[in-house]
């Protein structure tokens, strides 16, 4: 059997290796940069919400019962919540930036929740509040996502009557520990309507019959 010279310049392999590595790194950088833009967007939105909530506190103390500010801030909270889930998927739930934004978001949600409660008392309104504890742990993720989907639909259906507050059960934050202890949350998904009725959500009607 004859053998021809099959040697191929090693520099071709090296060049291919370098080119493919550069392409791969570029792709990672681009996608990471876009995720970072999203992160920046969330940070600035959190500030906006904070301003809204401060304004809202002022309005309530002056006994100004305009709903609009409440709706606006609630809408923005929902937007940030949605963006947060994208950020979490991209950077991972243990990422320091995700955790810090989540803690801030939790604080804002809680402030909003307290204001809605106060608003209901002072302005004789009946906004329904729903507290939702979820977990991203693999074994319960599907079930939690299903309940989250039901709650999103409920919010879309009754945007002016329902305020939903989602909290990460596993977030290492004193706010979460306090809430878990206050509402006796021991597993997820946990849904509490108007601070009274704990609901096992199988169908949207399970919640609809409890809201005013």
């Amino acid at each position: 059997m004859k053998e021809i010279n099959r040697k191929h310049p090693i520099k071709h392999y090296l060049m291919a290796f370098i080119a493919s590595t550069i392409i791969f790194i570029l792709i990672s950088l681009i996608s990471y940069s876009i995720s970072y833009l999203n992160y920046r967007d969330i940070s600035s939105r959190n500030n906006v919400i904070n301003d809204y909530i401060n304004d809202l506190s002022g309005y309530i103390s002056e006994l100004n019962c305009s709903n609009q500010l409440l709706f606006d801030s609630s809408e923005r909270l929902d937007e940030v919540g949605f963006k947060m889930s994208i950020l979490e998927n991209r950077f991972g739930k243990d990422d320091v930036r995700v955790i810090s934004q989540k803690k801030l978001y939790t604080q804002l949600e809680l402030n909003h929740f307290n204001i809605v409660r106060e608003f209901n008392n002072k302005c004789n309104t009946s906004f329904n509040t729903i507290i939702f504890f979820y977990s991203n742990k693999k074994e319960v993720k599907d079930e939690n996502e299903r309940v989250g989907f039901v709650l999103s639909t409920l919010k879309n259906k009754w945007p002016e009557d329902v305020m939903i507050y989602s909290f990460d059960y596993n977030l290492d934050s004193y706010l979460i520990y306090d809430l878990k202890s206050k509402y006796k949350v021991i597993d997820t998904p946990f849904v509490l309507v108007n601070e009274r009725d704990k609901v096992e959500v199988k169908n949207i009607k399970d919640i609809e019959r409890l809201i005013k």
């Binding site: 059997m1 004859k2 053998e3 021809i4 099959r6 040697k7 191929h8 071709h12 392999y13 060049m15 291919a16 290796f17 080119a19 493919s20 392409i23 791969f24 792709i27 990672s28 681009i30 996608s31 876009i34 995720s35 833009l37 999203n38 937007e79 949605f82 963006k83 994208i86 991209r90 599907d142 996502e145 299903r146 989907f149 039901v150 639909t153 409920l154 879309n156 959500v201 199988k202 169908n203 949207i204 009607k205």
Partner: protein
């Protein structure tokens, strides 16, 4: 990171490496070599094995006769492999005089390889060209292929294969697939790594058959086996991208499945038989081309099966969620700006989307190269769309079936009866 993503990244990295390597080799080749030429200095025998080909045989012989090649250096040998129809009768009509360059033989049916071996025995040419009875060639194809035989180490030359007048969805998908093959075959040729010579129209030096035996009559992909044998013996297989041959591809799903099953089971069996070629000693063929091909097929299959299972689970979860909200389709289309911005973030922050985007650009480059070589100018947008949408599913399906056939050692039908 999910298993799914890890698999996609590994596949993408291997893909980028292989493509970068092929492109670098191609550029170096075109920079250092005389690109192509034409030659008619060798006597050529075109062998057309035919079995029940009464519909297309006349067109194929006419195409061979239309080749721009000196008549005194060309012979066309039709071997009727015991057809039950009028193939032999129709082929005979081309023998118009004693000086005709067409010769027609008939023999007991024993398969394509046996018909080709019969033709080799009867041939007088220095170069043997195998031509399927449902193929056509451009008139300048042969002299462009013969040109490469000026190098004595070259034992075979393959052309660019195109699809003849694609009309329906499956033909259009195969049209783009054949285009991809044009680029890849030339890239492989630049590093002598061609491992498949298309049976539809390929040229061989007769000397190889005389020294190392004819076609393997027990092999279901005899053309593939010859190519691997040429590689094992250390010769060169060249490619003439500007030599264009066309084939009629299967129009419906079942014949296409039968064809692919034969090709892929043949590939598995032959690669196992010639596993010694997967070695660094065999240069780029053994170090890059064959390992990348094998790894890509295996990972793609795992990925497809996993994706299908994953999608089914997602659909199930989606249905459970939709039933939990008493879903009505009328409410489903509440799209607003926010949804669009989220769609943008989700899409572009996913490396998988960017990887797909870059592969699409690479594919456009492949197509441009192939169309330029084949001087093809018709619009292929629809074909490309169909290819992008359906090919990966078809490819995986063919491979899964073929693997099952190979593992279970089931008999593979190899042609129409």
């Amino acid at each position: 990171m999910e298993f799914y993503h890890v698999l996609i990244y590994i596949l993408a990295y291997i893909g980028f490496f292989a493509i970068a390597y092929y492109v670098i080799s191609l550029f170096t080749y075109y920079k250092n070599k005389e690109i192509d030429g034409e030659s008619t200095d060798k006597k050529v025998s075109i062998l057309i094995p035919a079995y029940n080909e009464e519909e297309g045989i006349a067109r194929t012989i006419e195409s061979a006769l239309s080749l721009d090649y000196p008549r005194d250096k060309l012979e066309i040998i039709v071997v009727d492999d015991g057809s039950h129809d009028d193939t032999y009768k129709i082929a005979k009509t081309f023998i118009s005089s004693k000086n005709s360059i067409v010769k027609v033989f008939t023999k007991k049916n024993n398969g394509k390889a046996s018909a080709l071996n019969f033709g080799i025995e009867k041939s007088k040419g220095e170069i043997i060209v195998s031509m399927d009875a449902d193929s056509f060639v451009n008139p300048d194809a042969l002299k462009k292929m013969v040109y490469f035989f000026k190098n004595k180490e070259v034992m075979s030359v393959s052309p660019s294969m195109g699809v003849y007048k694609p009309k329906n969805i499956l033909e259009r998908i195969q049209h783009i697939e054949y285009y991809m093959g044009v680029f890849l075959r030339k890239s492989f040729a630049t590093v002598n790594a061609i491992h498949i010579t298309p049976g539809a129209f390929s040229a061989y030096r007769k000397e190889f058959f005389l020294k190392h035996g004819g076609y393997d009559e027990k092999n279901i992909t005899e053309d593939l086996e010859v190519a691997l044998r040429i590689q094992r013996y250390g010769y060169i297989i060249e490619n003439a991208p500007k030599a264009v041959a066309y084939t009629i591809v299967p129009k419906t799903f079942r014949p296409l499945m039968i064809q692919r099953r034969r090709w892929y089971v043949g590939l598995i069996n032959n690669l196992w038989e010639y596993k010694d070629l997967i070695s660094p000693k065999k240069g780029p063929l053994g170090l890059v081309v064959l390992p990348v091909a094998i790894i890509t097929v295996i990972l793609s299959l795992i990925l497809t099966v996993y994706s299908i299972i994953r999608s089914l689970i997602q659909v199930r979860n989606e249905l459970i969620s939709l039933s939990a909200i008493n879903f009505r389709f009328n409410d489903a289309f509440e799209i607003n700006q926010f949804v669009f911005s989220q769609f943008f973030y989700q899409l572009f922050s996913s490396p998988i989307f960017l990887i797909s985007f870059i592969f699409a650009i690479i594919m456009a480059f492949y197509l441009r190269f192939s169309r330029h070589q084949m001087r093809y100018s018709e619009n292929i947008r629809l074909n490309l769309f169909l290819f992008l949408f359906f090919y990966s599913f078809l490819f995986s399906f063919w491979w899964i079936i073929s693997f099952l056939y190979a593992i279970l050692n089931k008999k593979v039908i190899w042609r129409k009866e």
